[in-house]
Symmetry: C2
Subunit: 222 residues, 2 copies
Amino acid sequence: MATSFAEENYLKIIYRLSESTLEDISTNAVAELTQTKAASVTDMLRKLAEKGWVNYQKYQGVRLTNEGEKIALSIVRKHRLWEVFLVDKMGFNWDEVHDIAEQLEHIESEALINKLDEFLDFPKTDPHGDPIPNKEGILPELGYLHLSELKENKACILMGVAKDSAVFLQLLTRLNLSLGAKLSVKEINPFDRSISLSINENAPVFISHEVAKNILVKLTKD
Amino acid sequence: MATSFAEENYLKIIYRLSESTLEDISTNAVAELTQTKAASVTDMLRKLAEKGWVNYQKYQGVRLTNEGEKIALSIVRKHRLWEVFLVDKMGFNWDEVHDIAEQLEHIESEALINKLDEFLDFPKTDPHGDPIPNKEGILPELGYLHLSELKENKACILMGVAKDSAVFLQLLTRLNLSLGAKLSVKEINPFDRSISLSINENAPVFISHEVAKNILVKLTKD
DNA sequence: AATATTTTTTAGCCTAGGCTAAAAATTTAT
DNA sequence: ATAAATTTTTAGCCTAGGCTAAAAAATATT
Protein backbone atom coordinates (compact mmCIF):
# COMPACT_ATOMS: atom_id res chain seq x y z
CA MET A 1 0.00 0.00 0.00
CA ALA A 2 1.27 3.46 -0.85
CA THR A 3 2.27 5.83 1.93
CA SER A 4 1.75 9.58 1.85
CA PHE A 5 4.31 12.14 2.94
CA ALA A 6 2.40 12.79 6.17
CA GLU A 7 1.95 9.11 6.99
CA GLU A 8 5.65 8.46 6.51
CA ASN A 9 6.45 11.30 8.89
CA TYR A 10 4.19 9.96 11.59
CA LEU A 11 5.62 6.45 11.31
CA LYS A 12 9.17 7.75 11.43
CA ILE A 13 8.45 9.84 14.50
CA ILE A 14 6.70 7.02 16.35
CA TYR A 15 9.71 4.87 15.52
CA ARG A 16 12.13 7.46 16.90
CA LEU A 17 10.17 7.78 20.11
CA SER A 18 10.03 3.99 20.47
CA GLU A 19 13.82 3.75 20.23
CA SER A 20 14.24 5.36 23.63
CA THR A 21 11.44 3.71 25.60
CA LEU A 22 9.55 0.44 25.91
CA GLU A 23 6.30 2.14 26.87
CA ASP A 24 3.54 3.05 24.47
CA ILE A 25 4.00 6.42 22.80
CA SER A 26 1.64 9.21 23.89
CA THR A 27 -0.41 11.38 21.58
CA ASN A 28 1.26 14.49 22.97
CA ALA A 29 4.76 13.19 22.35
CA VAL A 30 3.91 12.58 18.72
CA ALA A 31 2.25 15.99 18.44
CA GLU A 32 5.37 17.72 19.68
CA LEU A 33 7.67 16.09 17.14
CA THR A 34 5.29 16.36 14.19
CA GLN A 35 4.70 20.02 15.04
CA THR A 36 0.96 19.51 14.98
CA LYS A 37 -1.81 19.60 17.57
CA ALA A 38 -2.85 16.60 19.65
CA ALA A 39 -6.27 16.56 17.99
CA SER A 40 -4.67 16.14 14.56
CA VAL A 41 -2.51 13.33 15.89
CA THR A 42 -5.54 11.45 17.23
CA ASP A 43 -7.09 11.59 13.77
CA MET A 44 -3.98 10.31 12.07
CA LEU A 45 -3.41 7.53 14.59
CA ARG A 46 -6.88 6.20 13.82
CA LYS A 47 -6.03 6.16 10.14
CA LEU A 48 -2.67 4.49 10.65
CA ALA A 49 -4.33 1.83 12.83
CA GLU A 50 -6.92 1.26 10.08
CA LYS A 51 -4.10 0.56 7.64
CA GLY A 52 -2.50 -1.89 10.05
CA TRP A 53 0.67 0.11 10.64
CA VAL A 54 0.15 0.85 14.34
CA ASN A 55 -1.68 -0.63 17.32
CA TYR A 56 -3.74 2.09 18.83
CA GLN A 57 -6.46 2.17 21.45
CA LYS A 58 -8.09 5.38 22.58
CA TYR A 59 -6.26 6.94 25.53
CA GLN A 60 -3.73 4.08 25.54
CA GLY A 61 -0.99 5.44 23.30
CA VAL A 62 0.44 3.89 20.19
CA ARG A 63 3.02 1.30 19.03
CA LEU A 64 4.21 0.31 15.56
CA THR A 65 3.12 -3.05 14.18
CA ASN A 66 5.76 -5.12 12.37
CA GLU A 67 4.42 -3.78 9.11
CA GLY A 68 4.62 -0.21 10.40
CA GLU A 69 8.12 -0.70 11.69
CA LYS A 70 9.20 -1.99 8.30
CA ILE A 71 8.00 1.21 6.66
CA ALA A 72 9.59 3.36 9.37
CA LEU A 73 12.91 1.57 8.93
CA SER A 74 12.87 2.17 5.21
CA ILE A 75 12.37 5.90 5.83
CA VAL A 76 15.13 5.91 8.44
CA ARG A 77 17.41 4.10 5.99
CA LYS A 78 16.77 6.71 3.33
CA HIS A 79 17.18 9.61 5.74
CA ARG A 80 20.51 8.38 7.04
CA LEU A 81 21.95 7.40 3.65
CA TRP A 82 21.10 10.83 2.25
CA GLU A 83 22.81 12.41 5.28
CA VAL A 84 25.98 10.49 4.48
CA PHE A 85 25.71 11.69 0.89
CA LEU A 86 25.26 15.30 1.96
CA VAL A 87 28.27 15.27 4.27
CA ASP A 88 30.67 12.98 2.41
CA LYS A 89 29.90 13.96 -1.17
CA MET A 90 28.33 17.41 -1.01
CA GLY A 91 30.59 18.79 1.73
CA PHE A 92 27.94 19.90 4.22
CA ASN A 93 28.64 20.00 7.97
CA TRP A 94 26.91 17.55 10.29
CA ASP A 95 24.66 20.26 11.68
CA GLU A 96 23.37 21.34 8.26
CA VAL A 97 21.97 18.13 6.83
CA HIS A 98 18.92 17.25 8.90
CA ASP A 99 16.34 19.43 7.16
CA ILE A 100 17.47 18.50 3.67
CA ALA A 101 17.47 14.77 4.52
CA GLU A 102 13.98 15.28 5.95
CA GLN A 103 12.87 16.05 2.40
CA LEU A 104 15.01 13.50 0.57
CA GLU A 105 13.79 10.65 2.78
CA HIS A 106 10.44 10.72 0.97
CA ILE A 107 11.85 10.14 -2.52
CA GLU A 108 10.35 6.91 -3.71
CA SER A 109 12.73 4.65 -5.61
CA GLU A 110 14.05 1.42 -4.22
CA ALA A 111 16.54 1.27 -7.09
CA LEU A 112 17.92 4.72 -6.33
CA ILE A 113 18.43 4.13 -2.64
CA ASN A 114 20.25 0.86 -3.22
CA LYS A 115 22.52 2.46 -5.81
CA LEU A 116 23.16 5.32 -3.42
CA ASP A 117 24.06 2.83 -0.69
CA GLU A 118 26.60 1.26 -3.01
CA PHE A 119 27.93 4.65 -4.19
CA LEU A 120 28.59 5.53 -0.54
CA ASP A 121 30.29 2.18 0.13
CA PHE A 122 27.56 0.68 2.30
CA PRO A 123 28.09 2.91 5.34
CA LYS A 124 27.09 1.44 8.73
CA THR A 125 26.35 4.80 10.36
CA ASP A 126 25.29 8.30 9.39
CA PRO A 127 27.31 11.48 10.13
CA HIS A 128 25.89 11.53 13.70
CA GLY A 129 26.85 7.93 14.38
CA ASP A 130 23.29 6.60 14.02
CA PRO A 131 23.05 3.09 12.55
CA ILE A 132 21.78 2.69 8.97
CA PRO A 133 19.35 -0.20 8.38
CA ASN A 134 20.34 -2.41 5.45
CA LYS A 135 18.15 -3.32 2.46
CA GLU A 136 16.35 -5.91 4.59
CA GLY A 137 15.65 -3.38 7.35
CA ILE A 138 18.21 -4.87 9.75
CA LEU A 139 20.02 -2.37 11.98
CA PRO A 140 23.70 -3.03 12.67
CA GLU A 141 24.18 -3.52 16.43
CA LEU A 142 26.63 -0.91 17.61
CA GLY A 143 26.46 -1.29 21.39
CA TYR A 144 27.42 2.24 22.28
CA LEU A 145 27.11 3.73 25.78
CA HIS A 146 25.91 7.17 26.74
CA LEU A 147 28.81 9.24 28.02
CA SER A 148 26.66 10.03 31.07
CA GLU A 149 26.78 6.36 32.13
CA LEU A 150 30.58 6.22 32.55
CA LYS A 151 32.42 6.22 35.88
CA GLU A 152 35.30 8.59 36.65
CA ASN A 153 38.63 7.82 34.97
CA LYS A 154 37.10 5.90 32.10
CA ALA A 155 38.47 6.54 28.62
CA CYS A 156 36.41 6.18 25.46
CA ILE A 157 35.92 7.27 21.87
CA LEU A 158 33.08 9.45 20.64
CA MET A 159 31.03 7.31 18.26
CA GLY A 160 27.78 9.19 17.83
CA VAL A 161 25.13 11.52 19.18
CA ALA A 162 21.61 10.77 20.38
CA LYS A 163 20.17 14.08 19.17
CA ASP A 164 20.81 15.93 15.99
CA SER A 165 19.41 19.39 16.48
CA ALA A 166 21.65 22.02 14.89
CA VAL A 167 22.27 23.92 18.16
CA PHE A 168 23.42 20.80 19.95
CA LEU A 169 25.75 19.81 17.12
CA GLN A 170 27.17 23.31 16.91
CA LEU A 171 27.91 23.23 20.64
CA LEU A 172 29.83 19.98 20.20
CA THR A 173 31.75 21.42 17.28
CA ARG A 174 32.70 24.45 19.36
CA LEU A 175 34.02 22.13 22.10
CA ASN A 176 36.00 20.18 19.52
CA LEU A 177 33.83 17.14 20.03
CA SER A 178 33.64 15.31 16.71
CA LEU A 179 33.24 11.63 15.83
CA GLY A 180 36.38 9.72 16.74
CA ALA A 181 37.53 12.12 19.46
CA LYS A 182 39.36 10.45 22.37
CA LEU A 183 37.57 11.28 25.62
CA SER A 184 38.46 10.75 29.24
CA VAL A 185 36.11 11.38 32.16
CA LYS A 186 38.23 13.17 34.77
CA GLU A 187 35.65 14.04 37.40
CA ILE A 188 31.92 13.87 37.91
CA ASN A 189 30.48 16.67 39.99
CA PRO A 190 28.04 15.02 42.46
CA PHE A 191 25.91 18.15 42.69
CA ASP A 192 24.67 18.42 39.09
CA ARG A 193 26.46 15.44 37.55
CA SER A 194 28.36 17.76 35.21
CA ILE A 195 31.55 16.21 33.89
CA SER A 196 35.09 17.40 33.66
CA LEU A 197 36.16 15.92 30.38
CA SER A 198 39.48 15.73 28.61
CA ILE A 199 39.20 15.76 24.82
CA ASN A 200 42.07 14.42 22.75
CA GLU A 201 44.46 14.64 25.71
CA ASN A 202 43.80 18.35 26.20
CA ALA A 203 43.12 20.22 29.43
CA PRO A 204 39.65 19.18 30.68
CA VAL A 205 36.53 21.17 29.92
CA PHE A 206 33.12 21.05 31.63
CA ILE A 207 30.03 19.61 30.02
CA SER A 208 26.60 19.25 31.57
CA HIS A 209 24.93 15.92 32.32
CA GLU A 210 22.36 16.85 29.68
CA VAL A 211 25.06 17.08 27.03
CA ALA A 212 26.74 13.86 28.23
CA LYS A 213 23.43 11.99 27.95
CA ASN A 214 23.35 12.70 24.24
CA ILE A 215 26.89 11.60 23.45
CA LEU A 216 27.45 7.98 22.44
CA VAL A 217 30.82 6.35 23.09
CA LYS A 218 32.63 3.07 23.11
CA LEU A 219 35.12 2.23 25.88
CA THR A 220 38.80 1.88 25.08
CA LYS A 221 40.86 -0.86 26.77
CA ASP A 222 43.61 1.18 28.55
CA MET B 1 6.81 33.52 -1.71
CA ALA B 2 6.82 29.77 -1.09
CA THR B 3 5.70 27.44 -3.84
CA SER B 4 3.83 24.19 -3.27
CA PHE B 5 4.59 20.95 -5.02
CA ALA B 6 1.51 21.35 -7.24
CA GLU B 7 2.26 24.96 -8.14
CA GLU B 8 5.81 24.06 -9.12
CA ASN B 9 4.49 21.33 -11.38
CA TYR B 10 2.10 23.66 -13.16
CA LEU B 11 4.79 26.31 -13.71
CA LYS B 12 7.23 23.73 -15.02
CA ILE B 13 4.67 22.33 -17.44
CA ILE B 14 3.61 25.73 -18.71
CA TYR B 15 7.29 26.48 -19.25
CA ARG B 16 7.81 23.26 -21.21
CA LEU B 17 4.84 23.98 -23.43
CA SER B 18 6.06 27.55 -24.01
CA GLU B 19 9.42 26.28 -25.22
CA SER B 20 7.89 24.89 -28.38
CA THR B 21 5.44 27.64 -29.31
CA LEU B 22 5.02 31.40 -29.16
CA GLU B 23 1.25 31.17 -28.71
CA ASP B 24 -0.53 31.24 -25.39
CA ILE B 25 -0.84 27.85 -23.73
CA SER B 26 -4.31 26.28 -23.64
CA THR B 27 -6.02 24.91 -20.58
CA ASN B 28 -6.35 21.52 -22.22
CA ALA B 29 -2.65 21.29 -23.06
CA VAL B 30 -1.79 21.91 -19.43
CA ALA B 31 -4.42 19.41 -18.27
CA GLU B 32 -2.91 16.72 -20.45
CA LEU B 33 0.60 17.11 -19.07
CA THR B 34 -0.42 17.55 -15.43
CA GLN B 35 -2.65 14.49 -15.72
CA THR B 36 -5.60 16.40 -14.32
CA LYS B 37 -8.92 17.60 -15.69
CA ALA B 38 -9.41 20.93 -17.46
CA ALA B 39 -11.66 22.16 -14.65
CA SER B 40 -8.88 21.67 -12.12
CA VAL B 41 -6.45 23.51 -14.37
CA THR B 42 -8.76 26.51 -14.65
CA ASP B 43 -8.83 26.72 -10.86
CA MET B 44 -5.10 26.56 -10.52
CA LEU B 45 -4.45 29.10 -13.29
CA ARG B 46 -6.58 31.62 -11.42
CA LYS B 47 -4.48 31.04 -8.31
CA LEU B 48 -1.18 31.29 -10.16
CA ALA B 49 -2.34 34.54 -11.78
CA GLU B 50 -3.29 35.86 -8.34
CA LYS B 51 0.26 35.24 -7.18
CA GLY B 52 1.69 37.01 -10.19
CA TRP B 53 3.33 33.98 -11.76
CA VAL B 54 1.25 33.80 -14.94
CA ASN B 55 -0.82 36.11 -17.12
CA TYR B 56 -4.17 34.52 -17.54
CA GLN B 57 -7.47 35.71 -18.96
CA LYS B 58 -10.52 33.50 -19.14
CA TYR B 59 -10.68 31.58 -22.42
CA GLN B 60 -7.44 33.23 -23.60
CA GLY B 61 -4.84 30.73 -22.43
CA VAL B 62 -1.87 31.34 -20.19
CA ARG B 63 1.74 32.63 -20.29
CA LEU B 64 4.42 32.81 -17.60
CA THR B 65 5.34 36.20 -16.19
CA ASN B 66 9.05 36.94 -15.67
CA GLU B 67 8.60 35.97 -12.05
CA GLY B 68 6.90 32.72 -13.02
CA GLU B 69 9.56 31.90 -15.56
CA LYS B 70 12.23 32.40 -12.93
CA ILE B 71 10.58 29.81 -10.71
CA ALA B 72 10.08 27.43 -13.64
CA LEU B 73 13.73 27.74 -14.63
CA SER B 74 14.85 26.91 -11.11
CA ILE B 75 12.74 23.73 -11.21
CA VAL B 76 14.08 22.84 -14.65
CA ARG B 77 17.61 23.43 -13.39
CA LYS B 78 17.05 21.07 -10.48
CA HIS B 79 15.36 18.44 -12.64
CA ARG B 80 18.17 18.37 -15.18
CA LEU B 81 21.01 18.43 -12.67
CA TRP B 82 19.45 15.51 -10.79
CA GLU B 83 19.17 13.64 -14.09
CA VAL B 84 22.89 14.09 -14.69
CA PHE B 85 23.52 12.81 -11.17
CA LEU B 86 21.33 9.77 -11.71
CA VAL B 87 23.02 8.79 -14.97
CA ASP B 88 26.63 9.82 -14.32
CA LYS B 89 26.92 8.92 -10.64
CA MET B 90 24.18 6.39 -9.95
CA GLY B 91 24.53 4.47 -13.21
CA PHE B 92 20.94 4.70 -14.46
CA ASN B 93 20.11 4.63 -18.18
CA TRP B 94 18.76 7.75 -19.87
CA ASP B 95 15.28 6.27 -20.11
CA GLU B 96 15.04 5.50 -16.38
CA VAL B 97 15.66 8.85 -14.77
CA HIS B 98 12.67 11.01 -15.62
CA ASP B 99 10.29 9.88 -12.87
CA ILE B 100 12.89 10.02 -10.14
CA ALA B 101 14.04 13.49 -11.20
CA GLU B 102 10.39 14.52 -11.19
CA GLN B 103 10.45 13.95 -7.43
CA LEU B 104 13.92 15.30 -6.74
CA GLU B 105 13.20 18.59 -8.55
CA HIS B 106 11.03 19.69 -5.62
CA ILE B 107 13.73 19.39 -2.97
CA GLU B 108 14.17 22.85 -1.56
CA SER B 109 17.76 23.84 -0.88
CA GLU B 110 19.63 26.41 -2.91
CA ALA B 111 22.85 25.33 -1.20
CA LEU B 112 22.36 21.70 -2.14
CA ILE B 113 21.67 22.32 -5.79
CA ASN B 114 24.70 24.55 -6.19
CA LYS B 115 26.94 21.99 -4.51
CA LEU B 116 25.46 19.30 -6.73
CA ASP B 117 26.18 21.46 -9.80
CA GLU B 118 29.81 21.71 -8.70
CA PHE B 119 30.03 18.00 -7.85
CA LEU B 120 28.89 17.22 -11.41
CA ASP B 121 31.39 19.69 -12.91
CA PHE B 122 28.86 22.28 -14.02
CA PRO B 123 27.30 20.27 -16.86
CA LYS B 124 25.79 22.31 -19.73
CA THR B 125 23.26 19.65 -20.72
CA ASP B 126 21.35 16.78 -19.14
CA PRO B 127 21.51 13.14 -20.34
CA HIS B 128 19.00 13.93 -23.10
CA GLY B 129 20.97 16.93 -24.37
CA ASP B 130 18.61 19.49 -22.82
CA PRO B 131 20.33 22.69 -21.64
CA ILE B 132 20.73 23.27 -17.89
CA PRO B 133 20.04 26.82 -16.66
CA ASN B 134 22.82 28.22 -14.48
CA LYS B 135 22.44 29.65 -10.97
CA GLU B 136 21.14 32.91 -12.47
CA GLY B 137 18.56 31.08 -14.55
CA ILE B 138 20.38 31.65 -17.85
CA LEU B 139 20.11 28.83 -20.38
CA PRO B 140 23.21 28.07 -22.44
CA GLU B 141 22.43 28.67 -26.13
CA LEU B 142 23.01 25.40 -27.93
CA GLY B 143 21.62 26.18 -31.39
CA TYR B 144 20.70 22.64 -32.31
CA LEU B 145 18.53 21.72 -35.30
CA HIS B 146 15.81 19.11 -35.49
CA LEU B 147 16.96 16.21 -37.62
CA SER B 148 13.70 16.59 -39.58
CA GLU B 149 14.83 20.01 -40.84
CA LEU B 150 17.92 18.71 -42.68
CA LYS B 151 18.21 18.30 -46.47
CA GLU B 152 19.42 15.08 -48.09
CA ASN B 153 23.13 14.33 -47.89
CA LYS B 154 23.70 16.43 -44.79
CA ALA B 155 25.92 15.00 -42.04
CA CYS B 156 25.51 15.84 -38.37
CA ILE B 157 26.01 14.72 -34.78
CA LEU B 158 23.24 13.70 -32.42
CA MET B 159 23.25 16.23 -29.58
CA GLY B 160 19.95 15.73 -27.83
CA VAL B 161 16.31 14.75 -27.90
CA ALA B 162 13.20 16.90 -27.72
CA LYS B 163 11.15 14.34 -25.84
CA ASP B 164 12.15 12.11 -22.99
CA SER B 165 9.45 9.52 -22.65
CA ALA B 166 10.88 6.10 -21.84
CA VAL B 167 9.43 4.40 -24.96
CA PHE B 168 10.95 6.98 -27.29
CA LEU B 169 14.36 6.72 -25.62
CA GLN B 170 14.25 2.94 -25.70
CA LEU B 171 13.50 3.06 -29.43
CA LEU B 172 16.56 5.26 -29.99
CA THR B 173 18.71 2.93 -27.93
CA ARG B 174 17.54 -0.03 -30.00
CA LEU B 175 18.50 1.83 -33.20
CA ASN B 176 21.92 2.62 -31.71
CA LEU B 177 21.08 6.31 -31.58
CA SER B 178 22.87 7.75 -28.57
CA LEU B 179 24.33 11.21 -27.86
CA GLY B 180 27.36 11.83 -30.05
CA ALA B 181 26.38 9.42 -32.84
CA LYS B 182 27.48 10.50 -36.35
CA LEU B 183 24.42 10.73 -38.59
CA SER B 184 24.01 11.20 -42.31
CA VAL B 185 20.68 11.79 -44.08
CA LYS B 186 20.80 9.58 -47.16
CA GLU B 187 17.31 10.02 -48.54
CA ILE B 188 14.04 11.65 -47.62
CA ASN B 189 10.95 9.84 -48.80
CA PRO B 190 8.63 12.52 -50.26
CA PHE B 191 5.51 10.50 -49.43
CA ASP B 192 5.72 10.39 -45.64
CA ARG B 193 8.97 12.30 -45.08
CA SER B 194 10.54 9.23 -43.51
CA ILE B 195 14.33 9.29 -43.59
CA SER B 196 16.92 6.79 -44.65
CA LEU B 197 19.64 7.45 -42.12
CA SER B 198 23.16 6.18 -41.77
CA ILE B 199 24.32 5.92 -38.16
CA ASN B 200 28.05 5.86 -37.44
CA GLU B 201 28.85 4.99 -41.08
CA ASN B 202 26.67 1.87 -41.01
CA ALA B 203 24.15 0.73 -43.59
CA PRO B 204 21.18 3.13 -43.50
CA VAL B 205 18.04 2.45 -41.47
CA PHE B 206 14.60 4.04 -41.77
CA ILE B 207 13.16 6.40 -39.21
CA SER B 208 9.84 8.20 -39.35
CA HIS B 209 9.46 11.96 -39.65
CA GLU B 210 7.92 11.87 -36.16
CA VAL B 211 11.11 10.37 -34.73
CA ALA B 212 13.34 12.78 -36.70
CA LYS B 213 11.39 15.76 -35.32
CA ASN B 214 12.44 14.79 -31.82
CA ILE B 215 16.13 14.36 -32.50
CA LEU B 216 18.41 17.39 -32.04
CA VAL B 217 21.63 17.62 -34.03
CA LYS B 218 24.42 19.96 -34.99
CA LEU B 219 25.80 20.01 -38.53
CA THR B 220 29.33 18.83 -39.24
CA LYS B 221 31.50 20.72 -41.78
CA ASP B 222 32.33 17.95 -44.32
C1' DA C 1 -12.75 9.49 48.13
C1' DA C 2 -13.43 13.69 46.10
C1' DT C 3 -11.58 17.24 43.52
C1' DA C 4 -8.38 19.43 40.47
C1' DT C 5 -5.31 19.01 36.69
C1' DT C 6 -3.66 17.14 32.58
C1' DT C 7 -4.20 14.47 28.54
C1' DT C 8 -6.83 12.85 24.89
C1' DT C 9 -10.77 12.70 22.07
C1' DT C 10 -14.83 14.51 19.66
C1' DA C 11 -17.25 17.76 16.92
C1' DG C 12 -17.20 21.01 13.68
C1' DC C 13 -14.60 23.94 10.61
C1' DC C 14 -10.91 25.24 7.00
C1' DT C 15 -7.68 25.05 2.83
C1' DA C 16 -5.35 22.84 -1.07
C1' DG C 17 -6.11 20.46 -4.85
C1' DG C 18 -8.54 17.25 -7.00
C1' DC C 19 -13.33 15.59 -9.40
C1' DT C 20 -18.09 15.55 -12.37
C1' DA C 21 -21.91 17.62 -14.69
C1' DA C 22 -23.84 21.52 -16.68
C1' DA C 23 -23.36 26.13 -18.68
C1' DA C 24 -21.00 29.48 -21.44
C1' DA C 25 -17.71 30.95 -24.80
C1' DT C 26 -15.10 30.05 -28.77
C1' DT C 27 -14.09 27.76 -33.00
C1' DT C 28 -15.33 25.07 -37.02
C1' DA C 29 -18.40 23.57 -40.51
C1' DT C 30 -22.35 24.12 -43.22
C1' DA D 1 -24.76 33.64 -40.67
C1' DT D 2 -26.26 29.78 -38.30
C1' DA D 3 -25.68 25.55 -36.41
C1' DA D 4 -22.66 22.05 -34.60
C1' DA D 5 -18.69 20.80 -32.22
C1' DT D 6 -15.12 21.76 -29.12
C1' DT D 7 -13.00 24.08 -25.37
C1' DT D 8 -13.22 26.33 -21.14
C1' DT D 9 -15.41 27.81 -17.08
C1' DT D 10 -18.66 27.53 -13.21
C1' DA D 11 -20.98 25.28 -9.51
C1' DG D 12 -21.00 22.05 -6.25
C1' DC D 13 -18.82 18.11 -4.17
C1' DC D 14 -14.87 15.18 -2.13
C1' DT D 15 -10.53 13.79 0.54
C1' DA D 16 -6.26 14.60 3.13
C1' DG D 17 -4.57 16.78 6.74
C1' DG D 18 -4.56 20.49 9.36
C1' DC D 19 -7.07 23.70 13.22
C1' DT D 20 -9.96 25.34 17.75
C1' DA D 21 -13.13 24.75 21.46
C1' DA D 22 -15.58 21.77 24.31
C1' DA D 23 -16.24 17.18 26.35
C1' DA D 24 -14.52 13.02 28.33
C1' DA D 25 -11.11 10.09 30.37
C1' DA D 26 -7.04 9.43 32.99
C1' DT D 27 -3.94 10.96 36.47
C1' DA D 28 -2.49 13.60 40.43
C1' DT D 29 -3.47 16.07 44.71
C1' DT D 30 -5.50 17.03 48.80
